[in-house]
């Protein structure tokens, strides 16, 4: 079974099955596929196949417990007539745009602060990363209590500081306030990812570049613009693309905090798909709603593969 052993004295008349399998597994062309096949099998059965099922459901009138029939694109067309769906479409872009934008700016700022020499660095990093680690559904419960219409600590603080008029806004019961609340929780939860990743990118920028720029007379703003930002572009690209797809398809925060919100004002595709697909039972329409995530997913994947991933596997 050993490779490279020279001068085998005699070849056995019949190679045992175990030895033959062992020999095969030693060759890259066989071992590779064998090792990859469990993952491939799992993903084909439980990702690719359900995805095709979703495609089929969306062009059928599937309903829980009934046989389904092909109806073409009627689901997609009917959805545009529904006010709840049109509102959801708008919500998704507003939510994602605002949340990712703030996360980017705040993440960059915080990463730059953390890049300075500091005391208690490990403790601070631990504290900053904590919101990302705790299960979202549970930490959103904390925010739900913080935004409660009667007992909100946010309102209490605002009133105490004189920033709000009594009794303070009903965060989860009014249209634009609810969207603000949901965006704030998403920022709180997603910021650590931005911070830690951008920090890693910042750390890898060699100091000599900054020193050279300073010697050439560049002030701090110019150094940021001409040295930091260009070299951070790949990292920023990765982080923004990942965050976009996960924010766009978010479910936990909206479901726990507002369930879709006052008059559908915080519904996202995921929560509306659950409401229409599972709670009502119209699987065809629910699948059509979920599939609206697909174009954005495609754009993100294409952008990732084209602009960001420079390594070939």
């Amino acid at each position: 079974m050993a490779i490279g052993r020279v001068g085998v004295a005699a070849v056995p008349a019949r190679v045992s099955l175990r030895a033959r399998v062992g020999n095969l597994l030693d060759r890259e062309e066989w071992l590779g596929p064998v090792f990859v096949s469990p993952a491939l099998f799992l993903l084909l059965l439980l990702v690719a196949y359900p995805f095709c099922m979703a495609l089929y459901f969306s062009v059928s009138n599937a309903f829980i417990g009934r046989p389904s029939h092909f109806i073409g694109i009627r689901n997609f067309v009917n959805l545009w007539g529904s006010d709840a769906f049109r509102q959801t479409f708008q919500n998704a872009f507003v939510f994602t745009g605002a949340a990712v934008g703030f996360k980017l700016v705040l993440g960059l700022s915080l990463a730059m602060i953390l890049n300075q020499p500091l005391w208690f660095k490990r403790l601070i990093r631990g504290a900053v990363l904590l919101p990302w680690v705790i299960p979202t559904a549970l930490s959103t419960l904390g925010w739900w209590w913080m935004f409660n219409s009667l007992y909100s600590v946010v309102n209490w603080t605002g009133l105490a500081l004189g920033l709000m008029d009594p009794p303070g806004p009903n965060w989860l019961g009014q249209r634009y306030y609810a969207m603000t609340a949901v965006v704030v929780v998403n920022i709180w939860r997603g910021l650590p990812f931005f911070v830690i990743t951008i920090l890693a990118g910042l750390v890898s920028i060699p100091r000599e570049l900054y020193e050279a720029a300073e010697a050439d007379g560049a002030g701090p703003v110019a150094r940021f613009w001409h040295v930091t930002l260009p070299l951070l572009k790949p990292v920023l690209g990765i982080v923004v693309l990942f965050s976009t797809i996960f924010t766009f398809s978010d479910f936990n925060i909206v479901y726990v905090l507002t369930h879709g919100g006052p008059i559908n004002s915080t519904h996202l595709f995921a929560t509306l798909a659950r409401q229409v697909g599972l709670e009502t039972g119209r699987i065809g329409e629910g699948a059509a709603i979920s599939l609206y995530l697909f174009p954005v997913l495609m754009i993100v994947v294409w952008a990732q593969l084209r602009f960001v991933r420079k390594q070939a596997y």
């Binding site: 529904s82 008059i263 559908n264």
Partner: protein, 148 residues
């Protein structure tokens, strides 16, 4: 534990109109799965709970009028006298229907219910949209759903 709000709220039934007072109620079904492991004891329990008047009364009393059924003969039930505020719950001359009446129950009615069109209509009306616009909005949404 009584909050101050408790003194300022009360119950009222759905407003009535020239055609009478109509309300919805959820029809109650009691069923035992075919694959149940304890079918006989379950049947015994149902006979016990619903078959004996005293037990049924106890069932209604213990829920503080929350599950008082809509039978005419039970509208004078003693549970309504346990708290002065329950007096508003007395349902005289109310006609009960399933959701979506006079339409037959269907998945379209279920979608209307699950999309919270009625609560949203009222929410719109109390947060700035003119009442007539809110009603027209709700009507349009329901028409689209019923059309398929």
């Amino acid at each position: 534990m009584k909050l101050p709000t408790a003194d300022t709220i009360n119950h009222h039934r759905t407003p009535g109109g020239p055609a009478g007072r109509h309300e919805t109620d959820v029809p109650r079904h009691i069923a035992i799965w075919k694959f149940s492991k304890n079918a006989e004891p379950a049947k015994e329990f149902i006979r016990y709970l619903l078959g004996k008047r005293e037990v049924y009364d106890e069932y209604i009393m213990s829920a503080d009028a929350f599950n008082l059924p809509v039978y005419e003969k039970l509208q004078d039930h003693p549970v309504l006298k346990t708290d002065p505020k329950y007096a508003g719950l007395k349902a005289e001359g109310v006609q009960y229907h399933c959701y979506g009446w006079p339409a037959p129950p269907s998945d379209k009615v279920q979608l209307i219910t699950n999309s919270f069109i009625m609560p949203n209509m009222i929410a719109k009306a109390v947060t700035g949209t003119p009442t007539k616009d809110a009603i027209v909005w709700a009507e349009n949404e329901m028409k689209k759903i019923v059309a398929g």
